[in-house]
């Protein structure tokens, strides 16, 4: 069950921000860390990724989900808002459309959005939880993705069942492997194939991700050896101290130590490469954000800029970015983004 359905206090962005900004916790404000790195105020360098979050509906309820997504969530993007997204996109030459959720494929407008973005000549990425490919209602989804040459970015927190199921739910690992095999059979992830299949690792607990190149090598070896599965690249993502992962941190007494770990591992080089500097994030209702995490904390773009996709303007390309304590999650160690580390491996 999602935090929202359980009426948990942390379901509200205000309560999450209250915890993150609590004066009782000795934490250097993120702005101060940016200042010391010569990065304050943080600004966008352009927009190369148009990231559309089509809603919170998902067939899984993962323990770390920063969206608080699940089968019980009903907030999804309407066709009208999807049209506004395509209209805004068409005004630009932004090369990549990154579609996320929830399970974005469960939005009835997903396929329309993909075909429109592709017809505009844009590269499309689908952030896929894998198990969605096995749902009876999505029997032809993998073929659809292949026909439109959609890049699949698939979540798989570990190459073993125990760890994966602990985070994503019982039986999810087995379904994920079956889905990966289905994608491989269509050509996804095969050497030299144009059908890109990239995996996303995130820690199954309150610790930072390993070196991306090292864990990628483990995944490649173990998935091939145990399951005959191949893929192109693996991206490591740090768990953000918001929503369900924040609830986990607080419930298990790990919050202070995790925040100290993130703050202690602040890396100015990682901060310079954070994804909000080249991404515009659009919420299910059309609201504009600097990133998907700000979206979940209800922190829209600021500083006098338009806040809805219907009002999209070129000034958004060079906007000042809204930051907070959660941003330490993207700047720790080698950095973290939807495309993996933000520093050279």
């Amino acid at each position: 069950m999602s935090l929202a359905s359980g009426h948990h206090p942390l379901a509200t962005p205000a309560e999450q921000l209250r915890v993150l900004n609590s004066p009782t916790r000795a934490q250097q404000p993120f702005e101060r860390a940016l200042e010391a790195s010569g990065l304050f105020p943080l600004t966008a360098t352009g927009i190369t990724v148009f990231q559309i979050n089509v809603g919170k509906l998902c067939n899984q309820t993962c323990g770390h989900c920063h969206v608080d997504a699940g089968p019980d969530r009903r907030e999804i993007m309407t066709h009208e808002t999807a049209e506004l997204c395509v209209r805004a996109l068409a005004q630009t030459d932004i090369p990549t459309v990154d579609v996320t959720g929830g399970a974005p494929e469960l939005n009835p407008n997903f396929r329309w959005l993909v075909t429109e973005a592709r017809s505009l000549g844009r590269h499309v990425m689908d952030r896929c939880n894998l198990s969605v490919l096995l749902l009876p209602s999505q029997e032809d989804l993998a073929e659809f993705l292949a026909v439109y040459e959609v890049e699949v970015i698939a979540s798989l927190p570990y190459y073993q069942e125990h760890e994966t199921d602990a985070q994503r739910g019982e039986g999810v690992f087995a379904k994920s492997i079956e889905a990966l095999r289905k994608l491989n059979a269509l050509g996804y992830g095969q050497p030299d194939s144009p059908l890109k299949l990239n995996l996303v690792y995130n820690p199954v607990g309150a610790f930072l991700p390993p070196a991306q190149h090292a864990i990628e090598a483990d995944f490649r070896r173990e998935l091939a050896r145990r399951h005959g599965v191949v893929f192109h690249s693996l991206y490591t993502i740090t768990n953000m101290p918001i929503s369900r992962f924040l609830e986990f941190l607080l419930r298990t007494g790990n919050y202070d130590r995790y925040m100290e770990r993130l703050i202690g591992a602040y890396n100015a080089t990682a901060a310079a490469g954070v994804m909000c500097r080249y991404t515009l994030s659009i919420g299910w209702d059309g609201t504009l954000y600097d990133c998907d995490f700000n979206q979940m904390l209800d922190l829209p773009v600021d500083h006098g800029l338009p806040r809805h996709v219907r009002d999209f303007r070129p000034e958004l390309f060079r906007r000042r970015i809204v930051v907070g304590q959660h941003c330490y999650g993207c700047t720790a160690g080698a950095g973290s983004s939807c495309g993996g580390t933000t520093t050279a491996a």
Partner: protein, 110 residues
């Protein structure tokens, strides 16, 4: 003093350097160099450290290197095997002394 081995003491390890700072700095530099990737990977070194931490039964080290092993991508199966290696050596080190016992007994027995 209320007791020993408090988890919150671990971040104060560097306070040891307030006295004999030059010695602390030499230790810190050497320690950092030891754990840098070399002929062994950082992950292999963390697994060795975890095993040794159990052999010397240092709760600070067990805490720190459990976290480090996870952050290097190791899993509990691998970490448990590493601890078994340390335990096997500890156990074997006791047992191999039975040769001394046998020698001593052979000398006095008829």
């Amino acid at each position: 003093m209320a007791g020993y081995y408090h988890a919150e003491d671990l971040p104060h390890f560097a306070d040891v350097g307030k006295n004999a700072p030059e010695l602390w700095q030499k230790f810190a530099d050497w320690y950092g160099a030891v754990f840098a990737e070399g002929a062994l990977t950082e992950r292999e070194k963390s697994l060795i450290a975890l095993a040794v931490a159990h052999a010397v039964q240092c709760p600070y080290c067990i805490d720190a290197y459990t976290q480090a092993c996870l952050e290097k991508g190791s899993n509990l199966d691998q970490m448990t095997e590493a601890v078994h290696v340390a335990s096997a050596i500890r156990g074997g080190a006791s047992l191999v002394h039975a040769v001394q016992m046998r020698n001593a007994a052979a000398k006095v027995n008829m």
